[in-house]
């Protein structure tokens, strides 16, 4: 459904992505892991053409995202929900108004429906209490969850999560990981989750993609991933004391 074809992305002469190819099937949950600064966020941004590859192509079904403009690009973006690494809430709107924004400004839904969908999304991320507060008044983790509510409120069929659980306490992290899995099971939402929480990823993802220095180092199901003999993957796993028996707790 989503396909990266040999994508190279350079900034100021430095290749951040250096020939990245992979595919994501419809209804799949793909976790993207890797050290800081390897271009995980950059990879996600290519999917909605916030960035354009230096060379290579990005496809959504038969639409070339990396060349889409105008109405085509709007139609592509319509299909994505996006949780940004920092939440990216607008400072002068309350949490509820932020979540309502895509419904009000774009879909122009009637007020009653907007309210019920906003409440539903906020409830899913356990943020109903903070609905009327401004982003500056809530913690980073809460901003993250509000951003997540905004990403899911549009009922889009693909959701991109950029570090949904970083900065959250362990209990909330598990709730969010469960939510990602539940959205996928109940609504068939295709998900790409960038995360540092490898343990969580092994439990909720269908496949795991590891990026390092602009290359795909490993792309496999959790069962294979934990037993990988690739030294870079091993190093990554051992640093977090992950062993194959972890998989028994699968979400």
């Amino acid at each position: 459904m989503i396909r990266f074809e040999n994508v190279v992305k350079r900034f100021d002469g430095r290749a951040v992505l250096d020939g990245v190819s992979f595919e994501v099937a419809k209804g799949e949950v793909l976790a993207v892991v890797g050290p800081s600064g390897t271009g995980k966020s950059v990879t996600l941004k290519h999917l909605v053409r916030l960035l354009t590859p230096t060379s290579g192509k990005v496809w959504l079904e038969d639409v070339e995202i990396s060349a889409a403009t105008g109405r085509t690009l709007e139609a592509v973006r319509e299909r994505f929900g996006y949780l940004f690494q920092g939440g990216a809430l607008l400072g002068w709107l309350t949490v509820a108004e932020n979540v309502a924004l895509p419904l009000r400004e774009r879909l122009r839904l009637p007020d009653g429906e907007v309210e019920s969908r906003v409440a539903e999304a906020l409830a899913a991320v356990e943020m109903l209490d903070a609905a009327d507060r401004y982003p500056a008044e809530i913690s980073g983790g809460m901003q993250k969850r509000a951003g997540l509510a905004r990403a899911i409120v549009r009922h889009s069929d693909i959701i991109l999560y950029d570090e949904p659980t970083s900065g959250l306490d362990p209990v909330t992290s598990v709730t969010i990981n469960r939510l990602i899995r539940r959205l996928n099971r109940e609504r068939g939402i295709t998900s790409i989750v960038v995360t540092h929480d490898l343990q969580g990823a092994l439990l909720f993802a269908d496949r795991i993609l590891m990026l390092k220095s602009g290359h795909v180092v490993e792309l496999s199901a959790p069962e294979t991933f934990v037993r990988s003999t690739n030294p870079e993957v091993r190093e990554f796993l051992d640093a977090q004391f992950i062993t194959p028996d972890l998989l028994e707790k699968k979400l």
């Binding site: 100021d12 960035l51 354009t52 709007e74 920092g86 990216a88 607008l90 895509p102 009000r104 774009r106």
Partner: protein, 276 residues
């Protein structure tokens, strides 16, 4: 208009000359993009006025651009007039022509200095703040979030800001002129013994509709320039907090340069070619 958040060159320049060339090319490219942003924003304005939410944001920007800058513009306008009054008055008094003081101050203010000082104030107070605010939003991915929701940042963010400056700039320039003329009159009366009535009579008799029109036209153009440059620099901010600082600085420098250039061009157009 697609907002790019990438460097325009993918490799580092090999030679100093090449780096210089790129700076020049980038400057003009930026001015061109800012111009396009201005045109697109102005085209959106009717749409902004049509909807309640966006009308509210226009009103907020009108307040920011118009009301909050009043104190600064009052002081600057008054003192500009006083300085003009003093300098011109001293020169005129050498030829015993103090009676022309009002006319000279009025013409200088309305044709040139009023719009100019207003532009400088707006660019320093409002344009820079726009660049900083939008720049912060850009580096925090807030602008990207709008784009993904297919909410046009041009319509949602730039149009109310540029529209507010478009409306407010001529009003403020007129206000600065009025205060300046009064300031010049005060100086004339207290330091040079020019009766205030005579001063005002001379000032009012000289000011023609054309002068007022050209002055306000200049101010309007300056307003759009400041807004467009501020928003464009904000939208193209990269590289975190450092980038926001740089965008703010650049917005002020670029609008200063453009204010001078447009000021000259408009003057040249109306006072040279049409009325030799």
């Amino acid at each position: 208009m697609r907002i790019t958040r990438e460097p325009s060159y993918e490799d580092a320049p090999k030679w100093q000359v090449e780096a210089l060339r790129r700076h020049v090319v980038t400057f003009f490219a930026n001015v061109g993009h800012a111009g396009r942003l201005a045109v697109e924003s102005l085209a959106c304005l009717p749409g902004v006025l049509a909807r309640g939410d966006s009308r509210a944001s226009l009103v907020r920007q009108l307040y920011v651009a118009g009301i909050r800058t009043l104190p600064v513009i009052s002081v600057v306008g008054l003192f500009t007039g006083m300085i003009l009054g003093l300098q011109v008055g001293l020169a005129l008094s050498q030829f015993n022509q103090e009676s022309l003081l009002g006319a000279t101050v009025m013409l200088t203010l309305i044709r040139e200095m009023g719009p100019f000082v207003t532009g400088i104030c707006l660019s320093a107070c409002v344009g820079s703040a726009m660049a900083a605010e939008l720049g912060t939003m850009t580096v925090n991915d807030e602008v990207a979030a709008l784009e993904i929701m297919s909410i046009s940042p041009v319509k949602y963010l730039a149009a109310p800001r540029i529209g507010a400056l478009l409306l407010m700039s001529p009003i403020l320039a007129f206000y600065a002129c009025v205060l300046g003329v009064v300031g010049g009159g005060l100086v004339g009366y207290t330091q040079l013994n020019v009766p205030f009535q005579q001063y005002m009579a001379s000032a009012i008799s000289i000011a023609g509709v054309k002068d007022l029109f050209v002055g306000l036209l200049k101010a309007t153009i300056f307003g759009v320039v400041i807004g467009a440059v501020g928003c464009h620099e904000g939208f193209t901010t990269r590289l975190g907090a450092v980038g926001v600082g740089r965008a703010t600085q650049r917005s002020v420098i670029i609008s200063f340069l453009l204010i001078l250039m447009f000021g000259y061009m408009v003057t040249r157009m109306f006072y040279f070619e049409f009325s030799v």
